[in-house]
């Protein structure tokens, strides 16, 4: 056994002619290089195999189908096929009044429904020219959005660990996410699809004692994140598995219009909360984490994961400031009785959701039903990168790459 390990050559053919790769010593990179070398030497080239990956596959995070062209174990080409969760959001929105579209936006990114509600509502408010909202409403919206960002990122890092083969962190992430969902259930009555942020206000005021409970949760949550990092983030095996795969250079990310943690993981410091502050984000102090390339090249799958971990910490920072500053007030006073923007007026608003920029373009025709609603989805844009970052890598790394992009099919297909 030791013979093979200390030999320079990292692969050999056994007595039956099958390829055996010594995976033992160090990183995934060595394995990848060994397989590449073996594939070339053995003359496997020319035998392409096309496999369908999904749509019913636990690692695709929903009903995504990938058509993968394989050369041996190396990925030559990946084509994502979408549309398995298409619900016709944009056309449907042309037939129902402005305020009734809010429950439909819940179902776009169902893991961050508050951010979706907020993105749509901000676009309608821009269309109506409704800029002066009660202070309390703004603070409640920021608190909800940041809590939902934490919940969404917990899901992302948990399933990413699951893709890499770690089950315990997934369960721990779900345990903490559950507590955030409990807070939201107390606040809005629902656990996932809140329909909470309405045009000009919110559906309900904060219940008595909610702020204290939220602070209690943050006190509980911060040590839990330290434990989580010990278990998964700083785990050497996990780092070796992820820090060298799915490398996305910054220029490619910008060319593909990637946003959110996928863009920031490549080292580009771009966050709408800081660069185009909407609502009251200019009042809070927080950093924009970017990929640092601590264990490998910048823009790897681990960097995208690391950006999410750091963003959870920044969200906790924002939440602490917001929970301290929240004023008293009436949350219903600015809700308009009739939403009827002038005919021909149009508005586009983009905001920072956990998975990137969510943008809504709305055109009015003078009635209470919009003429056109267009949704710019971040996941839809980010999934187009899957071919760019998985080409020339192994099939096993493809799973890691999908997990690191963190898509929600509800938003990809709309």
């Amino acid at each position: 056994m030791f013979n093979n390990i200390f030999k320079k050559q990292r692969y050999y053919f056994d007595s039956e002619g099958l390829l055996v790769v010594d995976m033992a010593p160090s990183s995934a990179v060595h394995y990848q290089e060994a397989v590449k070398a073996a594939t070339q030497d053995a003359g496997f080239a020319g035998e392409d195999m096309v496999i369908n990956f999904g749509p019913q596959h636990p690692s695709t995070h929903g009903v995504l189908r990938l058509e993968v062209v394989l050369e041996g174990e190396l990925v030559k080409k990946v084509t994502p096929h979408l549309g398995y969760l298409h619900r016709n959001f944009e056309k449907h929105a042309e037939h129902i009044p402005y305020n009734e579209i809010v429950p439909y936006t819940d179902r776009l990114d169902y893991l961050a429904a508050m951010n979706m509600n907020w993105g749509y509502v901000l676009a309608v408010e821009k269309l109506l020219g409704l800029t002066e909202l009660p202070e309390r409403v703004e603070y409640i919206r920021v608190i909800c959005a940041e809590f939902n960002r934490i919940a969404s990122h917990l899901m992302a890092i948990g399933t990413f660990g699951l893709d890499a083969g770690a089950i315990t962190p997934f369960l721990w992430a779900f345990r903490d996410r559950e507590k955030i969902l409990d807070l939201f259930e107390w606040l809005s009555g629902a656990r996932m699809l809140y329909n909470y942020i309405w045009v000009g206000g919110v559906a309900r005021d904060l219940p008595d004692g909610w702020v204290e409970k939220a602070r209690e949760f943050l006190d509980y949550f911060e040590p839990m994140m330290v434990e989580f990092n010990k278990l998964l983030t700083h785990n050497h095996i996990f780092i070796e598995r992820t820090a060298h795969v799915g490398i996305l250079p910054a220029d490619v990310a910008i060319n593909y219009a990637a946003t959110g943690p996928v863009l920031r993981g490549s080292g580009v410091k771009w966050d709408l909360r800081r660069d185009e502050p909407y609502s009251i984000y200019d009042r809070f102090e927080f950093d924009i984490p970017v990929g640092e390339g601590m264990y490998g090249p910048v823009g790897s799958a681990f960097d995208r994961y690391w950006v999410r971990i750091r963003e959870i910490e920044e969200s906790v920072k924002i939440l602490r400031q917001a929970l301290d500053q929240i004023p008293e007030g009436d949350v219903f006073e600015a809700i308009p009785r009739k939403i009827r923007p002038p005919a021909g007026k149009e508005a586009y608003f983009r905001s920072e959701a956990p998975r990137g920029e969510i943008g809504f373009y709305i055109r009015s025709n003078g009635s209470d039903i919009p003429d056109r609603v267009k949704c710019r989805s971040s996941c839809f844009v980010n999934i187009s990168l899957i071919d760019e970052i998985s080409r020339g890598q192994l099939v096993a790394d493809l799973i890691i790459n999908i997990g690191s992009i963190d898509i929600v099919l509800g938003e990809v297909d709309r």
Binding site: I5, F6, G189, H236
Partner: protein, 186 residues
């Protein structure tokens, strides 16, 4: 060779760190419940199964109109002038027979819009969530308190009254036209 043993050492240590965390968590209280036997307490205002207190409903159609998925079906018959149907508990007078008030809970999206617009707060969301049924038709909940034959009778009466009214209107119109014609002929 040095790298090899360093990697082995690192792999061992990193597993031990993880195992220490896991070991510590073995002695913390469990966060899960044995679901069908134990249940979580739901907070006030939770959004589950819809319910209509039909005695308070005034048949204003507001809930059916705001429903984004159109899952509320209401049919009403106007009360006759000499009929008194009483008042809702909030004081709003009831002027219609509610011959049909059905909610299709399979279509419901639990958005809570119907309960916010209700003027008498007679439609609300309860905390019942175990509502699976064996047949799709069992998911449609009927809230009207009118017996089907009585409801049919009311609908038929209204239809007859409307038809009579329409006939009377047509006759009046014809008479007016005839009078006009006669005037023109003169």
């Amino acid at each position: 060779m040095r790298t090899y043993f360093r990697n082995v050492y690192r792999g061992l240590i990193t597993i031990l760190i993880g195992m220490r965390q896991t070991w510590r968590h073995l002695f913390t209280p469990s966060v899960t419940l044995q679901y069908p036997h134990e249940k979580w307490d739901l907070p006030v205002g939770t959004r589950q199964q819809l319910f209509v207190n039909i005695d308070d409903c005034i048949g204003c159609y507001k809930c059916a109109r705001i429903c984004p998925v159109d899952c509320i079906y209401i049919d009403t018959v106007k009360a006759k002038p000499d009929e008194d149907l009483g008042k809702a508990s909030t004081g709003n007078p009831i002027r219609q027979h509610l011959v049909r008030f059905d909610i299709d809970m399979f279509k419901c999206c639990y958005c809570n819009f119907c309960t916010t617009v209700c003027p008498t707060d007679c439609i609300y969301m309860t905390d019942k969530y175990e509502t699976s049924v064996y047949d799709r038709s069992n998911g449609i909940y009927h809230f009207s308190k009118y017996a089907p034959d009585y409801a049919a009778k009311l609908i038929a009466e209204e239809k007859a009254a409307e038809e009579a009214k329409a006939a009377a209107r047509a006759a009046a119109k014809e008479k007016a036209m005839a009078a006009k014609k006669a005037k023109v002929a003169e």
